[in-house]
């Protein structure tokens, strides 16, 4: 019994010691507020156990997102190419980096990223988590062209960041891992779920006959057949987040997923973007080749190009596509515009 008492005392001592070592500021946990249109229809968001949301982490991520300190010459931030007024995309075909050079891809809009269940991000799926996605643009010579060690040194020497990291992650030692975690936390809060169509789905708004006919065009296999890749009223993400060759080119200058997977069957495949907020995110496609929504609809109607990896969901390829009438095109566009969520653009939580 004496021995047991000694052991108990030692255990108690160790527990007490480790408790005092962990004393410090505890960040405030955040439960993501999930919109009804999502909670009633689709699976919960992906929040990694290794990076739970906290008030301090989200706030830090937001500050970093808008801070030019991440770029080599401190002239651009994440928000330079992912601007709130463009649904966190930009209005150029391919964005220009700190050296005045353009990249090869259109800036993807950022919203509802926590619902990308496969966690494959970017047009070609090369980024396997939101955290990992943050790494590349900071060091890409065509984007921020920074050295991560320099970025960490700048942040570590900053008068405020060490304290902000300390509050968010309980350490003032800043690392690349913590920077990516903070930005990913902020990005997971960027939710867009308040479009006219969302309100229609919830019984809070009505659609015009033209918009309803546009929905019909969107859903009909013998017309637009958009829904197999771009969601439907029961999948309000309006994307399958999967990879398809949608018939843009007969030959490829950009292999897309194929360059990532090394599988020639993936050549020319790119991730389906969400159709939410289209009105704010022009130009369109992975290379920003189409300036307007009309151009996009015309492409799917008459402009398809055949290639060995074109998705079998693309039909009437020899006639160029869906062959929509001018009325159906106009109605389809009217429907697509109901997916716009202007409140997302002005949400104070997402402004600098």
């Amino acid at each position: 019994m004496k021995k047991i008492c000694y052991i108990l005392c030692i255990v108690l001592f160790i527990v007490s010691c480790s408790s005092s070592d962990n004393e410090g500021y505890t960040p405030v946990a955040v439960d993501l507020e999930i919109p009804e249109i999502f909670s009633s229809n689709i699976l919960p968001p992906v929040i990694p156990n290794t990076n739970p949301l906290t008030e301090e982490g989200i706030a830090l991520g937001k500050r970093l997102f808008f801070d030019r300190i991440l770029s080599a010459d401190e002239t651009i931030s994440c928000a330079s190419c992912h601007s709130p007024q463009n649904a966190f995309s930009d209005n150029s075909a391919t964005s220009v980096g700190v050296d005045g050079l353009s990249g090869t891809r259109n800036s993807m809009p950022l919203f509802n990223l926590a619902w990308n269940y496969n966690e494959r991000f970017a047009w070609d799926g090369k980024e396997l988590s939101l955290e990992r996605q943050v790494i590349e643009p900071v060091q890409n010579p065509l984007e921020m062209h920074s050295d991560w060690d320099d970025v960490i040194n700048k942040l570590q020497g900053h008068p405020e960041y060490p304290e902000l990291f300390s509050r968010a992650f309980n350490t003032s030692t800043i690392t690349q891992d913590l920077v990516t975690k903070a930005i990913a936390q902020f990005e997971r809060t960027m939710i867009s779920a308040n479009s006219k169509f969302d309100r229609y789905s919830l019984g809070q708004a009505t659609l015009t006959p033209q918009e309803l006919n546009g929905l019909d065009v969107f859903l009909r296999e013998d017309k637009g057949d958009c829904f197999h890749c771009h969601g439907n009223p029961n999948n309000p993400l309006w994307t399958d987040n999967d990879f398809h060759n949608n018939g843009l080119d007969a030959t490829f200058t950009d292999l897309g997923l194929g360059a990532v997977s090394g599988d020639p069957n993936d050549n020319g495949k790119f991730r389906s973007p969400s159709l939410r907020n289209l009105v704010y995110t022009a130009p369109y496609m992975h290379d920003g080749r189409f300036q307007t929504l009309d151009d996009v609809i015309d492409f799917y109607s008459e402009g398809l190009q055949n290639s060995p990896t074109i998705d079998p969901l693309m039909k009437n390829i020899d006639q160029g596509g869906a062959q929509l009438s001018p009325e159906d095109k106009a109605d389809l566009k009217a429907f697509l515009l109901t997916l716009s969520d202007p409140s997302f653009l002005t949400n104070p939580a997402f402004q600098n």
Binding site: D216, E221, D311
Partner: protein
């Protein structure tokens, strides 16, 4: 301290008792497992075989498979006294992504003799009218003007057409529907029951289901891809032919028991 040790002893004994009870329960109840393997007339098919025109259907058209996923639901065990144990579960078999090819039913059944085991291809009409977050997230829905609910199967690929060019096919099985729009009508049910026959369950059990994909194109209807290739969802006659051909697609390969 004496009281403390006594309490510890009681907790220890109770914990062990409850383990024993669990063991007894576990020995008499099992979660059945259904494992799906796919073939084309006996030649194994996995997603590694996708995207290559290499299969020939009964009508002589060569084809490739690029996407294949389907739902099975309502697993039913019928006892020797004709008691029906219906396990209200479903599984999206996603061959494209190699997901859910092995499905452990999240309900238990007692060990013993059963006159029949069956499952439903697709959903019966009641289940098809429910809202499934996972299937919505997988964009497996059928538009409301086609009756709503879910695809039973999405089978996409390409075939060599009359000019020997690759052309797409979308063999999508759904509930057959006429008069698409606000008030669609349903000419007949197109989900179907797959009967696996009698089984004596003595322990953990896996039903190895073999899925011959060639049957979708040949029995009893010889499928002409030059005629029936895309836009088959609103084609109730095509849906009924899929229903008929589907009857011979699934079979029980073996039953593994531990």
């Amino acid at each position: 301290m004496k009281k403390f040790l006594t309490l510890l002893l009681v907790v220890f004994v109770c914990t062990n008792c409850s383990d024993d009870v669990d063991d007894i329960v576990n020995a008499t109840q099992i979660n059945p497992v259904f494992s799906f393997t796919h073939n084309w007339e006996g030649i194994p098919v996995t997603n590694a075989n996708f995207n290559s025109v290499q299969y020939t259907n009964a009508n002589g058209e060569m084809l490739s498979i690029e996407r294949l996923r389907y739902v099975i639901s309502d697993i039913v065990f019928t006892t020797t006294s004709n008691e029906v144990l219906e396990l209200d579960a479903y599984n999206l078999v996603d061959v494209t992504n190699n997901n859910n090819l092995v499905f452990q039913v999240p309900f238990t059944i007692p060990i013993g003799n059963y006159n029949n085991v069956s499952f439903t291809f697709g959903f019966d009409n009641e289940d098809n009218s429910e809202n499934y977050a996972d299937l919505n997230s997988a964009s497996f829905n059928v538009p409301d003007m086609l009756g709503g609910g879910y695809h039973y199967m999405q089978f996409d690929g390409k075939y060599l057409d009359a000019s020997n060019s690759e052309a797409p096919f979308n063999y999508h099985a759904i509930r057959a529907v006429d008069n698409p729009g606000m008030s669609p009508t349903f000419p007949q049910d197109t989900f179907f029951t797959v009967n696996l026959g009698a089984v004596n369950i003595t322990g953990e059990t896996t039903f190895n289901i073999e899925v011959n994909l060639a049957e979708w194109f040949q029995n009893p209807n010889t499928w002409d891809l030059n005629q029936l290739n895309t836009v088959l969802m609103p084609n109730s006659a095509a849906q009924i032919q899929m229903f008929q051909n589907g009857q011979s697609v699934f079979s029980l390969g073996s039953v593994s028991q531990q």
